[in-house]
């Protein structure tokens, strides 16, 4: 065959051929440096989130049970409420001139409030109020919020009763903090949260040309663009926009320190890459994914004060892609996506209650998205992500 002979001779000529190449090392070096920084950022993000998770786990595991005498914020709250609800029972003993040791008083109040704070609030005639045993302490009665609290239809109250708990008064509480009658402790309060998530994006993509995918595209027939979209990148650096999640969650206490939560989240993911549609390459096309998810969260609250809470949480979530849209050139195309995206998350969180029933919280965490054959996105390319959630929390 003449053609075969020509082919062979040409192949022999071209085999092992070399030619001085233009110097592109500088461009390569810059590209390598750029990728190195991306890798460092990715590792740093993962390390920070992992460290946070480890600290949270350590606190969760090694923190012993709370002792009876431990003074915590809820004790302070209940102790301060005391004089308001037990004015009639306060004896007329004169206040001692010396300031007593505070610790025994706090222990007594702690013991009292654990068992009877609410009951006392409803039945002021109870005689076991620890105030009876609590030596009143001279203090600026006019400075305590209790002194300004109107006690409707109550007999006149001697000031010493108000003085006693002033030991436990928290000056920085808002003036109206104690107005709520028998305000429940934090662990007995259900919450509702409005949240938004931001996730680190450090993946530089990892796609190479996939011949089989392209072949499938070419075989799918003319005029059926909907089945011909294959996410084939023409470069190895697809661009991922920062994923955004918003949602609503409800949290219920199950023990003094543990709570469970669930809710509904909406996530929006956008990727940009070159896309082959019916043998035409569209540069910089977009893929938009919309997910609705239901998370289930278990939280352990290891710090609880009136204003600040710190907790560790672990959660699992199932998300359904409700919409996938390709935008290439002037065209858009919607495609259905089957299956669920499962993920697991662990992290620590801090909440700040700036008024009694509303607070702000911040949850850094580490989240892992399992391989559930979901569309190409930052979640499939970078399944382990550092996640930062902020939101508003309301007690209900």
């Amino acid at each position: 065959m003449v053609s075969n002979d020509f082919d062979k001779r040409l192949r022999d000529r071209l085999e092992g051929v070399t030619e001085t190449a233009p110097d592109v090392w500088e461009g390569i070096s810059k590209g390598l440096e750029r990728r190195r920084r991306q890798v460092i950022f990715r590792r740093f993000s993962v390390a920070v989130a992992a460290a946070a998770a480890v600290v949270a786990l350590a606190l969760l595991v090694f923190r012993g049970p709370r002792t009876e005498g431990e003074v915590t914020a809820p004790v302070q709250i209940a102790g301060t409420e005391q004089p308001v609800v037990t004015p009639a029972e306060i004896p007329d003993e004169p206040a001692p001139s010396e300031t007593p040791d505070i610790a025994p008083i706090q222990q007594q109040i702690a013991a009292f409030t654990k068992k009877q704070a609410v009951a006392v609030a409803q039945k002021p005639a109870v005689t076991e109020t620890p105030v009876e045993e609590t030596p009143a302490v001279e203090g600026p009665a006019e400075e305590t919020p209790v002194a300004e609290t109107p006690v409707v239809e109550q007999p006149a109250v001697e000031q010493p009763a108000v003085d006693a708990p002033s030991l436990l008064t928290e000056d920085d509480l808002p003036a109206d903090y104690w107005e709520e009658e028998s305000r429940p402790r934090r662990t007995h309060t259900s919450q509702i949260s409005i949240l938004s998530n931001l996730t680190t994006v450090s993946s530089d993509g990892d796609l190479l040309y996939i011949p089989s995918a392209m072949h499938a595209s070419s075989q799918s027939g003319k005029g059926q663009a909907s089945s011909q979209v294959e996410p084939i990148t023409a470069t190895n650096a697809p661009k991922f926009y920062v994923p955004l999640t918003v949602g609503l969650q409800v949290e219920f206490p199950i023990t003094e320190r543990f709570s469970v939560g669930t809710g509904l989240n909406y996530s929006y993911l956008v990727s940009q890459y070159d896309m082959l549609v019916d043998k035409v390459m569209y540069e910089g096309a977009y893929n938009q994914l919309h997910y609705l998810g239901i998370p289930v969260t278990l939280s352990y609250h290891f710090v609880q004060t009136p204003h600040v809470g710190v907790y560790a949480s672990a959660s699992a979530a199932a998300e359904k892609c409700v919409s996938q849209r390709y935008v290439y050139g002037s065209n858009t195309l919607n495609e259905k996506v089957g299956g669920l995206q499962w993920s697991a998350k662990a992290g620590v969180g801090v909440e700040y209650w700036f008024i009694p029933r509303m607070g702000l919280y911040f949850d850094p965490s580490l989240v892992y998205f399992f391989d559930n054959k979901q569309p190409f996105s930052i979640r499939t390319q970078q399944p382990l992500q550092a996640n930062f959630e902020i939101g508003l929390r309301f007690k209900i």
Binding site: S3, F6, D7, R11, V17, A21, L208
Partner: protein
């Protein structure tokens, strides 16, 4: 196993896997002159430079996945072929068929000795000057040794189209070579 001035090929690869910039530089210096002609064959000289750079970045990114099966140069060559085809798809030239339709189906053959009179650089330029679709099929089938079925998969065309384009490419290239040879006489 090949050796460079101070590295064996295995050491060079291991260094690149670690991200050693010296090893990467050595690898580039050793293979740039071999990969550049590959890019020229698929793209012509104008675009070959960009793809040479992008191809090396991909090589350094993926070098950890090279398991020593087959020659390292062959593995690298596939990456540069891939990068070249990507570039062609981005510019959408593979889809343009006007030039292909105009190419002759038959033509004169290049006689013995003619091909040997053409320099390598000129030969690369002649291949690079073929219409993009034709030269892609020609390079993949004749030089790289892919079957028509594989060429069809790689380029998103049918097997029959691959055969037809190869025939046109071969004829057109022979015409160009003959013209070049006659110009030299």
């Amino acid at each position: 196993m090949q050796e460079t001035s101070s590295y064996t090929e295995a050491e060079l690869i291991a260094g690149c896997v670690r991200g050693d910039r010296n090893a990467q530089r050595k690898l580039y210096e050793q293979y740039a002159s071999r990969m550049y002609p590959v890019c020229v064959r698929y793209l012509g000289r104008e675009d070959a430079k960009d793809v040479l750079q992008e191809g090396f970045l991909t090589v350094f990114d993926k070098i950890g996945s090279y398991k020593g099966e087959g020659s390292f140069e062959g593995w690298m060559r596939k990456i540069f072929i891939n990068a070249s085809l990507m570039q062609l798809r981005k510019s959408d030239v593979l889809r343009r068929t006007e030039d292909i339709e105009q190419a002759p189906e038959t033509g004169g053959t290049v006689g013995n000795g003619v091909l040997e009179q053409i320099g390598t650089r000129e030969l690369l330029d002649q291949i690079g000057s073929l219409p993009a679709g034709l030269r892609s099929v020609f390079n993949l089938f004749v030089v790289e040794g892919y079957s028509h079925a594989e060429v069809g998969k790689l380029l998103g065309i049918t097997e029959q189209s691959s055969r037809s384009q190869l025939s046109r490419a071969r004829t057109l290239l022979q015409e160009k070579i003959k013209k070049l040879y006659n110009g030299k006489q």
